[in-house]
């Protein structure tokens, strides 16, 4: 048994050291200005750590340095969804979006409120919701049986309601069908084929809300302008 534990620990240590070496290698390439090569290293690491926000952040940095603002925005967004508290991710995402004429914090919303809304990761928020739910259940039971701690149970219910609303808001934001224009310029057409007339051209990095999909074309709404039209799937990157 001891041998098995030892072997498992050894394997885990080897895996971590390998990923650390890969990260180091990618960083060296990035420092040397070989952004495409660094990008390849980070994308390889994604196979092992598919939900790692720092990898998406680094990939976003590589794309930004390579001039692909659209793909940079897409990857910063993925990183932000996984770790919204990280200041570096927030900073780079804001910068990349500004670069393509978009706003990260919606107009009219105080930045502090935006930060509070994203102060917890989705998993953490869900965990808090469960804890408060259990706390409320326990307090409610005590109150029902012993007629004690009734006020605390009510406070727990209020916190549960606030957390529930917060969680629902975050779930809605997380599951928004977003995409970003990845091609240098994409054309917005009135129908899902190249034969339809183009109504607008959308620059790289613009955020799009996906509405519908048909034959490799997406019905999208350009978030900042509110324009609706069809765009070819190859021109966008789904977030």
């Amino acid at each position: 048994m001891k041998k098995i534990i030892f072997a498992t620990c050894l394997a885990l240590a080897a895996a971590f050291s390998a990923s650390a070496a890969d990260l180091q290698n990618a960083e060296t390439l990035y420092r040397e200005g070989k952004f495409a090569a660094a990008l390849g290293e980070y994308e390889d690491l994604l196979d092992s750590y598919p939900n790692e926000p720092h990898l998406y952040y680094n990939i976003g940095n590589c794309y930004f340095k390579m001039g692909s603002v659209g793909l940079a925005v897409a990857n910063y967004y993925r990183a932000f969804r996984l770790d919204p508290r990280d200041e570096d991710i927030r900073h780079n995402l804001t910068l990349a979006l500004q670069n393509s004429g978009e706003r990260f914090v919606p107009a009219g919303m105080p930045e502090i409120l935006h930060k509070v809304f994203f102060s917890l990761r989705s998993g953490e928020l869900k965990g808090c919701l469960f804890i408060i739910l259990w706390l409320f259940c326990t307090l409610a039971s005590i109150w029902l049986i012993k007629r004690r701690l009734g006020r605390i149970a009510l406070a727990a219910l209020a916190i549960l309601a606030v957390l529930g609303a917060w969680y629902a808001g975050r779930a809605k934001w997380d599951n928004k069908p977003l995409a970003v224009v990845a091609a240098p310029v994409a054309e917005l057409r009135s129908g899902p084929a190249a034969s339809f007339p183009a109504s607008a051209s959308v620059a790289q990095g613009r955020l799009l809300m996906l509405q519908d999909e048909k034959d490799n074309w997406y019905d999208v709404v350009v978030k900042s302008e509110g324009l609706q039209g069809w765009i070819q799937a190859e021109n966008i990157e789904k977030i």
């Binding site: 952004f35 926000p53 910068l95 998993g123 469960f130 039971s141 049986i145 310029v185 790289q204 021109n235």
Partner: protein, 610 residues
């Protein structure tokens, strides 16, 4: 002497032309096309010839919705009062499929002349056309009627001649009793699809004929035909000297199966012996009816290319010595800028009906559709075809890229093998987009004082470690399924309620029993028993073995509210007093005590935990 001769010539020429009778009083209207099978990219030449009509007139073309006419020309000639007007129309097809050029009409005087309709088949440039069987049959019938070679025993062709020359010689040898005849032969009667084959049409003449002898190229079915060259020569066949005019074409089959080269025709007016002197030729007069000679038909069997070992990069080209090259219009661009990629294929076969090239996957590029353009150019008696593929590639991000070698295969009929040729890989350097950088608004570079000056802004540096946000307790808890958590909470609540109900039900049952006892309580003893039984069932306090003080303490300990405990204590004292008091006191307050006991138990049930 020379002056006199010149004067005589000047006088004689007009006299002779005026004296020559105009034998063609009737008007003939003919229409012909240079090809009946063509692709969307091909031009079609429609020639309308009017003979015998003088004056200014124009034939009326029918409605031609399937074609765009983009050039027209008119030429008029008069030879010995015989007017010939030729109207040529260069057209390009507008759509694929079979179409008919309807009758062309000419209103001349009171008479309307009409031509026969002409059937045309237009195919897509990169698609194999369907069989043109009908056209073949029609052509075959015509040739059976018109091509009547001589029954005389032909002489054998010299052994050293190439196969096509030998066949031309053998065909010509059958006509040695004729002064004017035409023959046609091909270099290969069993070619593969798209393989270029030489078609030679020769007009042999033992005597001269007048110029303006209209020549009509052979009709074709299931074939593409391109004019290559024209030549003249002489040949002695069976001891008889002939001169010939040769027209050479490159033909290629478009689908597997039978194909046919129809008859070519020449309409001529004989002049005299080949050996006629120059002087006689100059003063010869146009006399006699126009004669028509036709060439023989040639049947071909078009073979498909073998399926075995057919490479993926085979698009239908057949021939030998093909070459391919690729160029980029720029070697260094910014990310997001378009680069033109041009791939050119050169070779001998028909490239018009070959499919478009499929580019290999180009990672990091947006690749637009390939546009192709095919054509052919006569070169030293052979037709050289070319096909140019053009596309636009847009690098998405900066870096050094290599456009990989692009493969293109063809079938070599001489070795009956597929061969693959490749372009050279090309390097492309892509720099970061300057538009993205300049489009960035970093704000005003301001001097904020205190030795601090903002110079610009950039993205923050890389993360050197993994975050692993899922490792935290809250995140792990959050990964649990919401439904299972809610279900567990519900189960917990149910258990709590069940436990709570058990105690509540026990209390209710005790109350009901006590009420029933109190209904029939005639003595204080009965009331005390009912109350004691209720307290025991509700709070688990045995009154019989305890003093009143101990009972009160036990009730307080079990959570009974103090006011109820107080009321219980008072009632219990009164009951004790009633039970152990003189007889006259008995019976006076039993009802009242029973009522008080019932009220107390009711309140204990309602608010007297547990």
């Amino acid at each position: 002497m020379l002056k006199r001769l010149t004067l005589l010539l000047c006088l004689l020429v007009p006299l002779q032309t005026h004296a020559a009778p105009n034998t063609n009083d009737s008007i003939t209207l003919t229409a012909s096309v240079n090809k009946t099978v063509l692709t969307e990219n091909d031009e079609l030449k429609l020639t309308v010839t009017v003979e015998g009509a003088a004056g200014n007139f124009t034939p009326q073309l029918p409605s031609l919705p399937a074609f765009n006419i983009y050039a027209r020309s008119t030429s008029r000639q008069i030879n010995n009062f015989h007017a010939v007007s030729v109207f040529e129309y260069i057209m390009v097809p507008r759509m694929q499929g079979k179409t008919v050029i309807g009758p062309i009409t000419l209103q001349y005087g009171d008479t309307t002349y009409k031509t026969e309709p002409i059937s045309i088949t237009v195919y897509r440039a990169d698609a194999a056309p369907a069989s043109a069987a009908n056209g073949q049959k029609q052509t075959a019938k015509k040739t059976q009627k018109t091509n009547k070679p001589s029954q005389a025993e032909p002489a054998e062709a010299p052994k050293d001649l190439p196969p096509m020359e030998r066949e031309l010689y053998n065909l010509a040898a059958r006509h040695t009793d004729e002064d004017y005849f035409m023959v046609a032969a091909v270099s290969d009667k069993n070619p593969f699809i798209n393989q270029a084959v030489t078609l030679s049409v020769r007009v042999y003449y033992a005597h001269l004929f007048f110029k303006n002898a209209p020549y009509t190229a052979p009709s074709i079915s299931n074939l593409f035909m391109e004019f290559v060259s024209s030549a003249e020569g002489s040949q002695t066949i069976n001891g008889k000297p002939y001169r010939y005019i040769e027209q050479r074409y490159a033909i290629s089959g478009v689908t597997a199966g039978a194909a046919q080269v129809g008859t070519a025709t020449v309409k001529y007016i004989p002049m005299g012996n080949v050996n006629m002197s120059v002087f006689n030729r100059m003063f010869a007069t146009v006399s006699g009816e126009p004669q028509t000679i036709q060439s023989n038909t040639v049947s071909l069997n078009i073979r498909p290319t073998p399926q075995k070992n057919k490479p993926k990069s085979f698009y239908g080209a057949v021939g030998s010595d093909y070459s391919i090259s690729a160029t980029l219009d720029r070697q260094e661009v910014e990310a997001g800028e378009a680069v033109n990629l041009t791939i050119t294929v050169n070779g001998p076969g028909n490239l018009k009906t070959t499919s478009d090239l499929r580019l290999p996957s180009l990672a990091g590029f947006k690749v637009y559709d390939v546009v192709s353009n095919a054509g052919s150019v006569p070169n030293n008696g052979e037709l050289k075809s070319y096909k140019i593929f053009k596309t636009v590639i847009v690098p998405i991000s900066s870096g050094s890229y290599t456009i990989p070698a692009i493969s293109w295969s063809y079938f070599d009929p001489s070795t009956k093998e597929y061969r693959t040729i490749r372009t050279k890989p090309m390097e492309l350097k892509v720099t970061p987009s300057s538009k993205a950088q300049t489009g960035f608004d970093f704000g005003t570079k301001t001097d904020l004082g205190g030795g601090f000056r903002q110079l610009g802004q950039d993205i923050r540096y890389l993360k050197s470690e993994l975050a692993q946000p899922e490792a935290s307790f809250l995140s792990k808890l959050g990964r649990q399924n919401l439904i299972s958590i809610l279900f567990a909470a519900l189960l917990f609540t149910c258990i709590v309620f069940a436990l709570m109900d058990k105690k509540m039900l026990a209390g209710k049952r005790a109350l009901l029993r006590a009420k029933a006892q109190l209904k029939n309580a005639w003595t204080e003893e009965t009331v005390a028993e009912a109350l004691s039984a209720y307290v025991q069932a509700k709070y688990g306090v045995h009154t019989a073995s305890l003093t009143l003080r101990e009972i009160v303490a036990a009730l307080k300990k079990r959570g009974c509210p103090s006011d109820l405990v107080q009321r219980f204590e008072t009632l219990w004292q009164r009951l004790d007093a009633a039970r152990f008091a003189p007889v006259d006191l008995q019976g006076q307050g039993t009802e009242e005590l029973a009522r008080q006991a019932a009220e107390l138990m009711k309140e204990m049930d309602k608010g007297g935990r547990p």
